[in-house]
């Protein structure tokens, strides 16, 4: 391997790191990504120039096809479909790693050059890769509602999964010492494809953020393993950056959902937990009409909007932003409180609001907004339910007890927009609706918002 190429790789690695570092603020984020793009360009050019590449046609064909598909997906996918895109893209990345691994195995196999160490690296590569491919495809299917989003469970599921896992690991260990057993190698790959399917099956739609993050981490680890197999440092660095990014995100997600890692993977929660902790006394709810809502908002000095995925489904984010503009025109301070799991993947809601032109300094994290919640005049909850459920704070019996929530109930007035009194995704009763300072505004989020904006514009 010549020095020039290694130096180019080193340069790329640095650009990747700086790129991710740039993401620590919206201001520097784009410049950071440009750096990472440049890093990738250098790495590709360096490889093409430095390696003894003999045939070009196929490379060009592959690059052309891949770029076209990638560009098309990037340009035409709506922002709500972001999680699906990411899931697919994990599958592609992992598939590329698997293919490279198989190829390396075949080539080195021909030459009889597979050492135990190399086999170890290759094994990791194809195992993580294959599992990520099918796992991400399953996640994609669930998100796209091609497979039903509810957890699919059956008796003895954990037993099947665990034994499958051990068989595969056993094969891997066997291969390390007997690398030339082709049949075992391909069976192992097939089994890990299966594992990918099986581990995602029992995971419900609500837990998808964790799954996607986890797949992200696996895809990165597969890339890093590739680096070990072919002695390439830039692959190791980029792969481990990706791996740690996915890992951190899945931890953040698990924490925000008040679940442990193992719980998500093996517990198959997201199953509508039969929750009978009905409130002892059925207190009356208070409804509010559009005009009254307008009146309340008009009086407010500080308004906080708490958007949930329901808002995105109703495509109401643009109307919400219009409302916020109207309010700001009147001198009201408007902010958005974003729960870490709002949306379907880490940070998803922020992207949806950014798309609707909401300024990023209006987007506040849960920890930032909660301490000042009692100075908020009006809090508008749109399509969010569990993330504002005070039972998480107060009621020990509740399945979400201990989950961090946005304390909307501490605001002076809360307006909850909701289709009906049906309970949320997780099927948990929400005592917020019965609080004396809560007003319910029933209807489709988008329609209600439009009416509200029209009301404001009337004057």
């Amino acid at each position: 391997m010549n020095y020039m190429m290694e130096i180019v790789y080193l340069f790329s690695s640095v650009l990747f790191i700086m790129g991710l570092k740039g993401l620590s603020h919206p201001e520097s984020a784009r410049r950071g990504m440009h750096m990472a793009e440049a890093g990738m360009l250098f790495a590709v050019i360096g490889t093409l120039v430095g390696k003894q590449i003999v045939t070009w046609e196929w490379i060009i064909a592959g690059i052309a096809v891949g770029s076209a598909i990638g560009a098309a997906m990037a340009i035409f996918m709506p922002m709500t479909a972001m999680p699906q895109r990411i899931a697919l893209s994990h599958a592609f990345g992992a598939l590329a790693a698997v293919l490279v691994g198989i190829n390396e195995y075949i080539e080195k196999g021909h030459l009889g050059e597979i050492t135990n160490g190399l086999m170890g690296a290759l094994g990791f590569e194809v195992l993580f890769g294959a599992l990520t491919v099918t796992g991400s495809l399953m996640a994609f299917a669930k998100l796209n509602e091609m497979v039903k989003g509810a957890p699919i469970t059956y008796k003895g599921q954990n037993l099947v999964n665990v034994s499958l896992f051990f068989v595969t690991v056993g094969m891997f260990l066997y291969l390390i010492f007997n690398p030339y057993d082709y049949a075992i190698f391909y069976t192992m790959i097939a089994l890990s494809f299966l594992i990918g399917v099986f581990i995602v099956l029992p995971i419900g739609g609500a837990d998808m953020p964790v799954v996607i993050s986890l797949m992200n981490s696996y895809a990165g680890l597969a890339a890093a393993a590739t680096g070990f197999a072919i002695d390439n440092k830039v692959l190791i660095i980029a792969g481990s950056l990706d791996g740690s990014s996915g890992f951190i995100l899945s931890i953040i997600m698990s924490k925000a959902m008040n679940r442990s890692f193992t719980n998500v993977l093996f517990g198959a929660v997201g199953t509508p937990q039969v929750d009978t902790s009905k409130l002892a006394e059925e207190r009356p709810i208070q409804r509010i009409g559009i005009e009254d809502a307008k009146f309340v908002l008009e009086q407010a000095e500080r308004v906080v909007v708490v958007p949930g995925y329901g808002m995105a489904v109703a495509q109401a984010q643009h109307t919400v932003r219009e409302l916020s503009d109207e309010l700001e025109k009147r001198g009201t301070k408007v902010e958005f409180a974003i729960h870490p799991v709002a949306g379907r993947m880490p940070g998803h809601m922020n992207v949806l609001l950014a798309e609707a032109n909401v300024s990023y300094d209006q987007l506040l994290e849960m920890e930032v907004i909660n301490p000042t919640m009692d100075t908020v005049d009006v809090c508008i909850v749109i399509g969010a339910n569990d993330v504002v459920n005070p039972a998480a704070r107060t009621e020990k019996a509740s399945p979400i007890y201990g989950m961090p929530i946005i304390d909307v109930d501490k605001a002076k007035t809360v307006i909850v927009m909701k289709r009906s009194m049906a309970s949320g995704f997780a099927g948990i009763e929400n005592p917020l609706f019965y609080e004396p300072n809560t007003k319910m505004l029933f209807g489709d989020a988008k329609n209600v918002m439009q009416e509200l904006v029209a009301e404001f514009k009337k004057v």
């Binding site: 680096g227 992207v351 032109n357 300024s359």
Partner: protein
Amino acid sequence: MDILTVLPFLLMIFVVAILLGTEVISKVPSILHTPLMSGSNAISGITVVAALVAAGEGHNWVSTLLGTAAVAFAMINVVGGYLVTNRMLSMFKKHEEPKP
């Protein structure tokens, strides 16, 4: 080449890069978690480097085929990932001055 001779260096790099990744990424605010994920995904499309070699060394048609497929898939990640990240990030804007 026996991998055992280079493994320590590679492992050291791996370990240090993991530590670094953890530090850098834990500072990304939750506002940018989605761009972070798609961005780091594009970065992990670095597999393209390995795929290029597999496709271009021209040992046999199986290699070429596998390699080409790998190049295509990795490029989807690279191009798609960066483009979509860029698209998302261009949406994150600060408030314009209030219109008169």
